[in-house]
């Protein structure tokens, strides 16, 4: 179905593993991920502390370099844990946004389907002799009157301000409200 220049093919989302399953409502991370990242951070800071005590306890240059390498390993581990944490969070927020967009597009398509009959009805305009405006068939201003459909001779008529379609073909607020109902 095509609505407003966007086809459902354009909003097609390939099937992916669901991300909203067993995730808490208030956080994009699962409890087990909290624990894993906290454990990795604890190990990393432990390595840095161990390296500090190791390097502080000796004046041997070679020995100190080894402990420095251990400390650098700890810092790398912190970076790894941070990247893992933020990567998971960013990915899940992105997928959640995508799901929201798909829901909104589906809703828009449904609304457009409801509005289509109204748009068709609005395409039919009527008037009667002596009128300077054209109206929708169900407009109150022509209710009960003997009206006829517009012809090529009625090009000088202007749309009714109550039920009308604007000159650019947009529906009036009343028409949109009818479609929403």
């Amino acid at each position: 179905m095509t609505t407003a220049g966007l086809t459902s093919r354009q909003v097609h989302v390939p099937a992916r593993r669901s991300v909203s399953v067993d995730l808490p409502v208030d956080s994009p991370w699962r409890a087990v991920e909290h624990r894993v990242v906290a454990a990795v951070l604890a190990v990393a800071f432990g390595l840095i502390g161990l390296a500090w005590f190791g390097a502080g306890g000796t004046v041997d240059w070679t020995e100190q370099l080894r402990w420095t390498a251990v400390a650098i390993g700890g810092v790398t581990l912190v970076g790894f844990a941070g990247a893992l944490w933020l990567g998971l969070g960013l990915r899940r927020v992105r997928l959640e946004k995508r799901a929201l967009c798909v829901s909104l597009v589906a809703r828009r398509d449904r609304l457009a389907a409801y509005a289509a009959p109204v748009t068709d009805r609005a395409a039919t305009r009527v008037t009667r002799v002596g009128m300077s405006h054209h109206h929708a068939p169900d407009c109150l201003l022509v209710a009960g009157k003997d009206v006829r459909e517009l012809t090529a001779d009625d090009l000088d008529l202007v749309p009714c301000g109550v039920c009308g379609v604007s000159e650019r073909g947009e529906l009036s607020i009343n028409s949109i409200a009818r479609a929403e109902r």
């Binding site: 409502v25 208030d26 956080s27 994009p28 991370w29 951070l41 990393a44 800071f45 840095i48 390296a51 500090w52 390097a55 502080g56 004046v59 041997d60 240059w61 100190q64 370099l65 402990w67 420095t68 400390a71 650098i72 700890g74 810092v75 912190v78 970076g79 844990a81 941070g82 944490w85 933020l86 969070g89 960013l90 899940r92 927020v93 959640e96 946004k97 799901a99 929201l100 829901s103 909104l104 809703r107």
Partner: protein, 78 residues
């Protein structure tokens, strides 16, 4: 803040001595520790934003689902 204090402390300790054997423990305890703390602080900052965004999107989806359910119920009642 703690990271900045740690790194400043390390700078002062390292600049006080010309001996590399005295400087390396400062490099590890202040330098590496400060960098790791900075990384954790940034991680917490960004994850707070992510969590806010997540809650907002989730509430939007819930509102949308509720509105859809109400519309379906209305249509079913007619």
């Amino acid at each position: 803040m703690v990271a900045a204090i740690a790194m400043l402390n390390g700078y002062l300790g390292i600049s006080d001595t010309p001996h590399v054997a005295d400087q390396l423990p400062y490099f590890i305890s202040a330098g590496a520790f400060g960098v790791a703390l900075c990384a954790v602080a940034g991680m917490l900052w960004v994850s707070a934003d992510l969590r806010d965004e997540w809650r907002e999107i989730r509430s939007l989806r819930a509102e949308l689902a509720a509105s859809e359910a109400a519309a379906i119920a209305r249509a079913g009642g007619q």
